[in-house]
Subunit: 371 residues, 2 copies
């Protein structure tokens, strides 16, 4: 088992990673409250995760004295709406006896569940304690750490939400065994992202452990996730509200979000879109002389080897550009993007031009040029 | 003009109070951003306030270079719903060019507008800067300071929301001239509340300035509002997230909220309900020996003199008690209430019993016993 501390002053918290942790959820939750016995805990999970792990989570909470309840939401990105948010609140606020400010919300599942459950926790009774139990590799390495909560809007992804840190994060790597291979690849895109922007040694670790990682061996996954959580925690500690270097975590995401928006959130995985976005961003970096052709190829080849897409037909680069112009991180109408500077470093570039972007795409698909 | 600083470390802000301030809104907004020229400002106001002051606010913002827009909501407590919140976001996120994180949200109006606009600002793009321009005495002395944002739920009032401080507050006392007398009385209930829990001298000031206050004379209102803002600011500074003494601000509100919920939010003014709640809470305090009969009468008589209700028929005390049990500030099923300890001090009492509460009410109305 590994423990990573996310340092955020009075909002600091622990991320615990290992095998066999979910049955110890109740104990972990109880330890957050010195001397407290039980209270109320509400687990929010999608129907798939509820079927697989709901009983185990509730039993673990009940065993230490929590009055524990479960709220289900429909699986999938299409649940990440204000309508679903309203229904979750309806359920939460209709419990008898009514919830109070000592009620703990537990998000159990992937990124959609954690984003939604986190937003519910942040806004019900003006803020309840939140505990994140991610069950996907993408959520382990991305959504679980950093305190971003979110709901999509038809105008774009994650346009509604708040920053609210969880009280703790519990990652049971055993839950990855029930995850479809495509979902594992989705999470690996975030791992490659962290490696490219912060730590070339992580890139080397992934390269030399592909079989163990793709098979979700507990030891390899514990090490991989802890490494990624450490990187993300360091970035978030330095810049909680995304005023500066936290933006580096958006490497691959500006283009990735535009692809998700163009294709439809339910038609392409987040990591798949980010993989395409990273390949394109590397290409932009090569074009600007920030990254060598060899390093760009290394990223490209690793993504491909992990089962992630590195090209896709049927995308309109000009349409992607229009969507990118709407990104909430832009200021003053310019597109901001994160580009790698060698491997293990990154910088924010504020003035990516349309011409530059189109140069890295060919018509009929975001197939990156490989001259 | 008076200026009150709300001290909250990095979230500190100024509250400016005086006559003729709304036409200087643009200048005030610009001063929040050192060296910045304009940008985007979105004013949220209900249809009544938009008609009276919308043009002046927009013109003032435009004069200093803001690209300023207006979003209207329907007037009244019935607008304080997740459905209206969703529609406000729809409008905000559909602007072209799209809003970004530098966009400023201005809430112009009463408590409903400020609570809703504040929640929109707190959650759009995970948090935009918010400037509050209250136009009612209730909002001047209550909603504008403290960073509470809120949406009602059918399970109760203000059950959804976050704590998010504004960047600044601008109070133009001239806007009170267009306010119905009943609304002035609503705000005066909060002023009496502040006096009872914190400052007997404020009670004396109100007692000796009733005609000027009821006529909304600018000098009297500026002094009255600044005094109240100072009291509220001091309480909020000491306890931003309502962990301790900020709860004193709930004096009269536990019973008041229950009355609003029982009668219907659109059928009784917030201050009217709080007035009834304060009379009942004073009675509980007399019953416990915390307050003299003379002091309770002084509060009762001042409220009556200000045009506020001190009794009301047709309320069922047992039903009120059931609603009070649902209050989000309760912990562990007990009813918590704030009682005055003499005039100018208050304490939190955690274990008000049903019997004690009913003793202070008579059947068929919350008419307080005056033996």
């Amino acid at each position: 088992m590994e423990n990573v501390r996310v340092e955020l002053g009075p909002r600091s918290y622990d991320v615990r990673i290992g095998s066999g942790l979910l049955p110890r959820l109740g104990r972990f939750a109880l330890n957050l409250y010195a001397g407290r016995k039980g209270g109320r805990a509400v687990v929010i999970a999608d129907s798939t995760v509820a079927r697989l792990y709901g009983k185990s989570a509730l039993a673990s909470l009940a065993a230490v004295g929590f009055d524990s309840r479960l709220i289900r939401l429909r699986a999938g990105e299409s649940s990440k709406t204000l309508a679903t948010y309203g229904r979750l609140l309806d359920r939460l606020l209709s419990f008898r006896p009514p919830i109070d400010r000592s009620t703990l919300i537990v998000g159990l599942g992937g990124g959609v569940t954690l984003d939604m459950a986190g937003f519910v926790a942040a806004t019900a009774l003006r803020g309840l304690d939140f505990l994140a139990c991610p069950t996907t590799l993408l959520a382990d390495t991305d959504a679980a750490v950093g305190g971003k909560t979110a709901v999509n809007h038809r105008a774009g992804k994650n346009l509604i939400g708040v920053f609210q840190q969880p009280r703790g994060v519990l990652i049971d790597v055993d839950t990855l065994k029930t995850l479809p291979r495509r979902q594992i690849a989705n999470g690996l895109a975030e791992c490659v992202k962290h490696a490219v922007i912060r730590d070339e040694r992580l890139l080397a670790f992934i390269e030399s452990n592909v079989p163990a990682i793709l098979a979700c061996k507990p030891a390899a996954m514990t090490r991989l996730i802890a490494w990624n959580v450490k990187i993300k925690a360091a970035v978030v500690s330095a810049d909680e509200r995304e005023a500066g270097e936290r933006a580096h975590l958006n490497f691959g995401h500006t283009i990735g979000h535009a692809i998700e928006s163009a294709v439809g959130y339910d038609k392409i995985g987040h990591g798949e879109a980010v993989s395409l976005g990273m390949v394109a961003a590397c290409e932009l970096a090569v074009n600007r002389g920030l990254l060598s052709r060899e390093d760009a190829s290394r990223v490209h080849d690793l993504l491909e080897c992990l089962g992630l897409p590195v090209k896709r037909r049927g995308l309109n680069p000009a349409a992607l550009w229009r969507i990118m112009l709407r990104d909430k991180k832009n200021r003053g109408g310019k597109v901001r993007m994160v580009l790698p500077v060698g491997l293990g470093k990154a910088k924010i570039v504020d003035e990516i031009t349309k011409e530059e972007f189109l140069l890295c795409c060919v018509v009929h698909g975001i197939k990156i040029r490989e001259d």
